[in-house]
Structure formats: C-alpha cells, structure tokens
C-alpha cells in the first residue's frame, strides 16, 4: 500500500464507532440505570427522592401474588404459542417444499401476518372475538356449539391470545424451515434411496435431523419475542379481564407508566432479562447438541 493514513490503519475501530457509541448511549446506559433503580425505592408519584433499599424491591415483587401469576402466565403464553408455531410451521414448510405453480404467491400470503402492524392485528382479532357480533361465535353457533367469551373471559383469554400469536408467527417458522429445506444437499437422499429407505425413514433419519438446527434457531428467535410480547396483549386486553392476561412485560409497563413505581418495575424487568437470557442460552446449548 502506498498511503496508509491514520484513518486507514484504524478502520476496524473507526467504522464501528458511531454504532457502538449509539448502542452504549441508548442501550447500555439505560439498562444500567434500570439495574440501579431496581435497588431503590422510587415512586415518581410519591414526591420522595430515590432511596437505596438493596434487594427489597426484588423481595417485594416476589411476595406479590400478582407478579408470580404474571411470571407463570408469561411462561404458559410463550410455551403454548411457540410449541404450536414450531409444529404447525414445520408441517407447513414440509407441505410447501416442492415446486408448484403459485409458490411465490403462497410465500407472499405467508409474509402478510409478519409485516402487519401488531396493534391493528389485535384490533381485527378483537372484532372476531367480540362475544355479541364476533365472527367466531357465529361459527360456533352454526356448529351448534356453546358460545365463548374469548378475550373477555378470564378462563379463555390466554388461549385466545395464543391463537392470535400462532396466526401471526407460524408463517415465520414455516418460511425459515422452508429456506432451510431448500438449502439441504441432495446426496444423503440419493444414497438413502439406493439403500431402499422408505419415505417415513427418509424423513425421520435424514430430513428431520438436518433441519433441526434451523428449527431450533427459529424457535429461539420466536421464544425470545414471545416472552416480550406487548403490542398484541396490550391492544387486545390491556392485561385483563382483571389481571387474567397480564404478563411480566405488561405488568412492568403498568408499574412504570401507570403507577410510576419505578423501583418495583425495574425489579420485574431484571427478572424478565434473566428469563430472556436463560431462554436464549438454553436453546442455544440445545442447538449445539443437535449440531454435534
């Protein structure tokens, strides 16, 4: 190289600098701040200054039955939604994994729920779920089945919300697995057919093991997002009826921006981080095992 200025030599530090600075300023600092607040008793409404109280916000939150319920609900929602999405999504991908006329059209249709605004989706589903004018109760009445309260009934609200999540996100798993299937090499299939394997054997011993890492990655991404689901639940039920659909994320939001009890809200958020982190690490480890 003829000229090698300071900029040129330090490109590897200078190029990422703006992005790094931005993330530090808008993510790392705020998260550290949240952590600090979680060790204080700070309620904006009380007018009292922030006071350091150690772990008492955490203990307070853990003693709160409403939080324990929200914690469990976050798990039920995530596991319910993600398991259904993984199974249905994989089946969809296997069905669609062939050449046919209109395949791109189907892919476009599958993209629609993914790019739609969650708040608007939530509202459309609320119209479906409406107990008196909703389309779903109309379907039930045609089939001669008893009507349901859907999201207005504490016993059915969580499955109803899971159903919306499944409708919106199953296509993502399907598209990811479909892309994974398209990338598989044909060699193992050829040798299996030479060996006289039937299609069930081919599926169980070749296809499934080869796409398992892809399915698991899709599941990680989806599980992390499902743990943090906010828009759909907030728009459809606001966590209700009562607290029947309140997840940690919704509860932390209410404690922050409705009750302004920042100490407790931060403690809940720290629990949520840990949960998200544990979920990511756990599934990543599982994925490694499949690759080995």
């Amino acid at each position: 190289m003829i000229k090698s200025g300071f900029f040129e030599r330090n490109l590897r530090y200078i190029f990422p600098l703006p992005a790094l600075f931005f993330v530090l300023l808008l993510m790392v600092f705020p998260v550290a701040y949240t952590l600090v607040i979680s060790f204080t008793d700070w309620a904006l409404t009380s007018g009292r200054p922030m006071k350091f109280v150690g772990f008492s916000s955490y203990l307070g939150v853990l003693k709160e039955p409403r939080f324990i319920d929200a914690f469990g609900r976050t798990f039920s929602f995530t596991i319910g939604a993600v398991v259904l999405e993984a199974v249905i999504g994989t089946v969809l991908a296997l069905v669609l994994n062939r050449e046919f006329v209109g395949k791109n059209g189907i892919k476009f249709i599958l993209l629609l729920p993914l790019v739609s605004t969650p708040v608007a989706i939530g509202i459309v589903w609320n119209l479906f779920y409406d107990p008196t004018i909703g389309f779903l109760n109309y379907c039930l009445s045609i089939l001669g089945l008893p009507q349901s309260g859907w999201v207005t009934d504490a016993s059915t609200v969580l499955p109803s919300l899971i159903m919306v999540d499944v409708w919106q996100w199953t296509p993502m798993i399907a598209l990811i697995v479909l892309a994974g299937l398209a990338g598989l090499s044909s060699e193992p299939y050829e040798s299996a057919r030479v060996d006289g394997a039937n299609s069930t054997q081919i599926f169980c011993f070749i296809t499934l093991p080869m796409i398992m890492p892809t399915i698991l990655t899709a599941v990680i991404l989806r599980a992390i997002d499902a743990l943090k689901t906010f828009d759909i639940i907030y728009a459809m039920t606001g966590g209700g009826p009562g607290y029947a659909s309140e997840t940690i994320n919704i509860m932390a939001y209410k404690y922050s921006f409705e009750y302004f009890d920042l100490g407790s809200a931060s403690a809940m958020l720290v629990f949520l981080f840990v949960l998200v982190l544990a979920a990511s690490l756990g599934v990543m480890r599982l994925r490694k095992r499949f690759e080995a």
């Binding site: 000229k3 200025g5 900029f7 040129e8 190029f15 990422p16 703006p18 992005a19 931005f22 993330v23 808008l26 993510m27 705020p30 998260v31 701040y33 949240t34 189907i106 892919k107 476009f108 249709i109 993209l111 629609l112 790019v115 739609s116 605004t117 708040v119 608007a120 509202i123 459309v124 589903w125 609320n126 119209l127 008196t132 004018i133 109309y138 409708w167 296509p171 993502m172 598209l175 990811i176 479909l178 892309a179 994974g180 892809t214 992390i224 743990l227 943090k228 906010f230 907030y234 728009a235 994320n249 932390a252 939001y253 922050s256 921006f257 931060s266 958020l269 949520l272 981080f273 998200v276």
Partner: protein, 271 residues
C-alpha cells in the same frame, strides 16, 4: 422426489387450508372497513352489504390521520437512514475484521425487552424536555432499525468476495474507498433487504411511541389504538384505520417480497 397420487389430489386442499385462515382476517378487515356501523353489528355477520366509504372519510377528515401518517413516515425514514449510516460501516467492519463480539453486542438490542430502555429514556427525555419530540422518537426507533441493518448486512458483506477489494487496494485504493465504491454498490440487494425490514419494524412499533410521543408526534399505531378507546367502538372507523396503517407495509412487501423473505429467514438458516 416423486409424489404419490394421493398426495397430488390432497395438495390443493392443503394449500386452501393454509391460505384461507391466513388471509381471512385481512379480508374481514377490508370488508368491515367499507361497512356501515349497522352492517357491522348485525347478527349473523353480513357478507353481502352496501359498501360505503364513510369510514375512510371519517378517518382521514375527522381524525387527522394524514398527520399521523406523516409522523410515522418522518420517524421511519429518519431512523432507517441514520441506522444505515451507522450500521453499514459497523457491519462491514464486523464482516471484514471478524468482530463477532461487536455483532453480538449490537444484537443484544434486538433481544432485550424494549421496555427496559424505555423507562430510563422516559426519565431522561422528560428532564431534557424532549418528550413529544421527533428527536426522542427517532433515537428510540434507531434501536429497532440498527440491529436489523447490522444483522442483515454483516452476513451480506461476508458473501462479497474479498478479492475484488484486494485488487483495488493493490492499485492504490484505500480500504474505505474499496468499501464505498466496490463493496457497497455490489451490496444493493442486501441494503434493500435491510432497509425494507427495518422500515417495517419502525412503522409497526407501538410501545416506544406510546410512551414518548403525545399529540404533536403521535405515530399511526397510537392513533389506531386511540381510536379504540371511545366509549362505543366505532368498528368501521377502526377497521379503515387498520387498513390504512397496513397498506404501506404490505405494498413494500409486495414490491420487495424476495428481499423480505431473505431478511426474515437468513439469520436462522445461516446460524
């Protein structure tokens, strides 16, 4: 693989079973947006009715929807532009110098629950008098858009053959020149993917704007949501609003379908 004849008969049925449930909510939204309130609340639900444009008229005339549409566009375009400006060099650096840790660091922004930044932002932005400002909203939306840019583009840059840059650099070009004049022009499809996806994510974001914006900078999702909180839900109006907010994202997806699929699936498949 050869298909059994049974499968060949059932395949179209399976396709219908996939398409109908996926599309039905969109269809119902569209139909409801051109129904009068009487037709919407009638039981059983009406499939045949006199279409009306009154809901769209109400949304755009009486609800200032155009203003929210402009707000959403300002926030989306600015945050995506700034994300590209900061994210592209970072992604190139990650791809060329193998900065895995940096990549993970920026991706954490994608994994963290948004509300954990939002509460401190709320406190700081209030004190700085930045509530209800475009600045606060754009800054918050960069944290949505930039990880997408870095994620998509670092993978894309890795696929650009290094030899092209090296030969330019042997001829005396600097690395930043090679990046700007050789790598970037070759990466237009990747940039399209990153731009489309990050714009859609910013467009759809609800939580950040719900807290950081008020009357002046309110974005579309908030306007649609507020529409619901009337004493009696004006379903027709709400559905018209839903159609209006989804239309741009759907049109973008239609134009850039290939890129959107690639962007949503690449991370998982490449691992």
């Amino acid at each position: 693989m050869k298909q059994s004849p049974v499968f060949r008969i059932f395949f179209p049925i399976l396709l219908v079973l996939i398409i109908v449930p996926t599309l039905f909510p969109f269809l119902w939204m569209l139909l409801s947006s051109i129904k009068s309130q009487v037709d919407i609340i009638s039981w059983p639900p009406k499939f045949v009715f006199d279409p009306t444009m009154i809901n769209f008229y109400k949304v755009f005339r009486e609800q200032d929807f155009l203003k929210y549409l402009i707000n959403s566009s300002i926030v989306g375009v600015s945050s995506v532009a700034l994300s590209l400006l900061m994210g592209l060099p970072a992604a190139y650096s990650i791809a060329r110098f193998g900065q895995k840790r940096l990549a993970v660091f920026i991706l954490i922004a994608r994994l963290m629950p948004g509300i954990s930044f939002l509460m401190p932002w709320y406190i700081v932005f209030s004190r700085l008098g930045l509530m209800d400002s475009y600045t606060a909203l754009i800054l918050s939306h960069i944290l949505i858009a930039m990880p997408v840019v870095v994620w998509v583009m670092s993978a894309y840059f890795e696929g650009v053959p290094r030899e092209l840059e090296e030969s330019a650099m042997i001829d005396g070009a600097t690395q930043q020149f090679a990046f700007l004049r050789i790598v970037l022009p070759l990466s237009v499809p990747g940039v399209v993917t990153a731009t489309t996806l990050s714009f859609i994510f910013s467009w759809n974001n609800f939580m950040f704007s719900q807290v950081l914006s008020m009357e002046k900078t309110k974005t579309l999702p908030i306007a649609v949501y507020n529409f619901m909180s009337y004493a009696e839900v004006d379903w027709g109006g709400v559905m018209a609003a839903a159609v209006a907010i989804m239309a741009p994202a759907i049109v973008l997806t239609m134009i850039f379908q290939k890129y959107v699929v690639k962007g949503l699936t690449m991370g998982a498949v490449k691992g």
